[in-house]
Amino acid sequence: MSDHHPTGIKRWLFTTNHKDIGTMYLWFSFVMFLTGGAMAMVIRAELYQPGLQFVEPAFFNQMTTMHGLIMVFGAVMPSMVGLANWLIPMQIGAPDMALPRMNNWSFWILPFAFTMLLSSLFMEGGAPNFGWTFYAPLSTTYAPPSTDFFIFGVHMMGISSIMGAINVIVTVFNMRAPGMTLMKMPLFVWTWLITAFLLIMVMPVLAGAVTMMLTDRHFGTSFFDAAGGGDPVMFQHIFWFFGHPEVYIMILPAFGVVSEIIPAFSRKKLFGYSSMVYATASIALLSFIVWAHHMFATGMPVAGELFFMIATMLIAVPTGVKIFNWVATMWQGSLTFETPMLFSISFVILFTIGGFSGVMLAMAPVDFQYHDTYFVVAHFHYVLFPGAIFGTTAAVYFWLPKWTGKMYNETLGKIHFWMSMVFVNLTFFPMHFSGLAGMPRRIPDYNMMFAEFNMWASIGAFGLGLTQIFFLVTIIMAIRNGKKAEDKQWDGATGLEWDALPSPVPYHTFATPPKVD
């Protein structure tokens, strides 16, 4: 009875089941990941050697723009919501999300939003070409007509994210099993709760920014046009007030994931649970007062630059606490290195490297040399790829046995890991060097002095592209004919989903709440 569900297309269209919706989010984000990845392949093919070989500069700009938008809003954010859907109810002992119909709606908005965004590629004047940061007036007065579709698409994904966030907050506050106090919640639930608050705070700001763009474009306002009394720099303030918390929206749930996985394979409790919670909360709070570190070159007054420099460097403290806690969790544990653990460990190492370049970028007087160069590209890809994406990947390997009742092939998982590790570094590490050597970002062609670094980065990127196909095959093979998974597949894993539920989890779980002591 508990496994009864409608079948066929109706199951997916009308579902209000958090597991189905989680699955759809995850597959959607993977499709977007491949789409954005294909655009990255175009970019890296063009940059493989100096000269324009494949695409016109105008199209190149569309590729960088769409790649960024799709990866941020289509791949990373939905993947985190997918994990939240699957895991939060199971981890807090709830039967489902608190607002299941809204849950259905927040997912089903996304395919439409992205169809609209992607359709702009086929419009007159091409897709948006002003970078994923869409600075005015390049995105207003000088933008292609398809920009209006971009604006509408952003509104839709914003609504979807806000609804998803409301759902998480309501679920966590109201649906915890008896005895599941806040400070007993798994860290993944904590990081998502905090992320949800960030989303509710900043997505409306993004909606405001694109709405102002829309009225500037069509209704005669001049929010971002100095000739009418507006200010293009104000656009950047508004954008980054959204944009900086946004980077934590993408990474905090991944922090939660590795905080579950590292203890499991260390067979040891997470070190400093409460300091992890406080560190996450402080990172989230600080993320609201550092936005202008993206704008040191815009001519801010020195006092402003000093404030944003110091506030930004402060974020290194709670971030450091988290990294030290993960290391201390492994310390004197009893470690094994299955695929999810390998991804989590390299998450910690490579995210730390991204954190280092972050501290460097925070230092305003040197930032003038790094800003808008490939050094920045290297930095944010280190926190996003081995950060957010390795985090999600680790989560998929870790919970797949629970979700599907099937085990992946450990050898294939390990091959996937080593391919990822090698190619991620081959792609993104040389970008530090080309940036330091002086290569600006978002250019389709460059001087020969940057040639070698770009060649390596392109080779790495093609490898990374293949790696994703390998990942897809590994997962499909696991789902189709993987070995049967144990109820508690990982001996070191803890939490309700492992201790109180079988593998695969039934369609409906915790109809009567479990007791937590």
């Binding site: 105008a58 460097m313 492994m330 009893s334 305003a364």
Partner: protein, 384 residues
Amino acid sequence: MAFQRKLVAGLISLLGIMLSSGLHAAADMNMRPGVTETSIAAYDLHMMVIWVMVWVSVAVFGAMIYSFIFHRKSKHPVPATFSHSTKVEFIWTIIPIIILIYLTIPAIKLLIKMEDASDSEMSVQVTGSQWKWHYKYLDQDISFYSNLSTPPEQYEDFDHQGTDKGENYLLEVDNMVVLPINTKIRFLVTADDVIHSWWVPEIAVKKDAIPGFINETWTNIPTPGIYRGQCTELCGKNHGFMPIVIKAVSKADFTAWVDTKNAEKKAAADAAAAAAAASWDMDKLMALGETTYKSTCAGCHGVTGEGIQGLFPALKGSPIATGPVAAHMGIVVHGPSSKKMPAFGAVLTDAQLAAVITYERNAWGNSTGDMVQPSDIQAFKAGN
């Protein structure tokens, strides 16, 4: 235990040696120190952070690697049970704070210095526009545009034959910014259309050029030389094709350069006046029109006037380029009301304006047969 400790010490020092030799051997992988006091200070700060990061990595990654080796299940089957330590957590909150203070103090000092453009001895206004830079020497009354001088044959390689590229491929311009050494020079940076950013790594100056606002920055170059940079803010199609080249010369050479420029300016004004007074025949108009079009208009409207659908209108067969002349002159001289295209009235000479309009009206199959004379432009400007 002793063996383990030795092994770890060995590993750590090996890592340190590898990193440091890597950094030294590969100077071209690193930031260049540049030539000015501030660029060298920025470089020093950069190296200081790198070294701090290297040592922090050695500690953190060292501890992790130690765990991987000695706390793996086969070696360490029974995990410890501790899960927090207020003392340790306190220490690793304090240590990063101390490190950050150590890094922030020099950064604050340098930042304040870099942002202080007072007591400058001369000023240059830098204006970005799609996709060229304009320089105006406020004290010398000189101004000129600076365009990429790498010919398209060098970068357009769509047939995959490969092209020969010069040493300064994409980093060379027709008119360099000539500046005197040992002079505090203030740059007033702004833009005409979208945001650009003026960056020359060797002097560690990067400032956004924002339409409608003027940003201030400065440099003081001690050594003569040629310093190359690029626009670093995405500014549309040809963002990758608007380099910056500074030529720093002795004060005497600078004065000499100013004199030549002024003489050139006078000669050019005379020539323009003479050209404007003369009556031009079709061939002459078309010849000058073609060069002007290719250097000034083709970036947007395309070499063959085909434009880019939805962004830049085609001029081939365009109702304006084939319709009444006054409307055509109006849009080129004053710019369109949408401001998507700059006004060229003050950018080109009257002869160039006349020629380029004539060219657009008679090239690529636009065969209006109309000739626009420089005197027509003068009359048009006077009439408006």
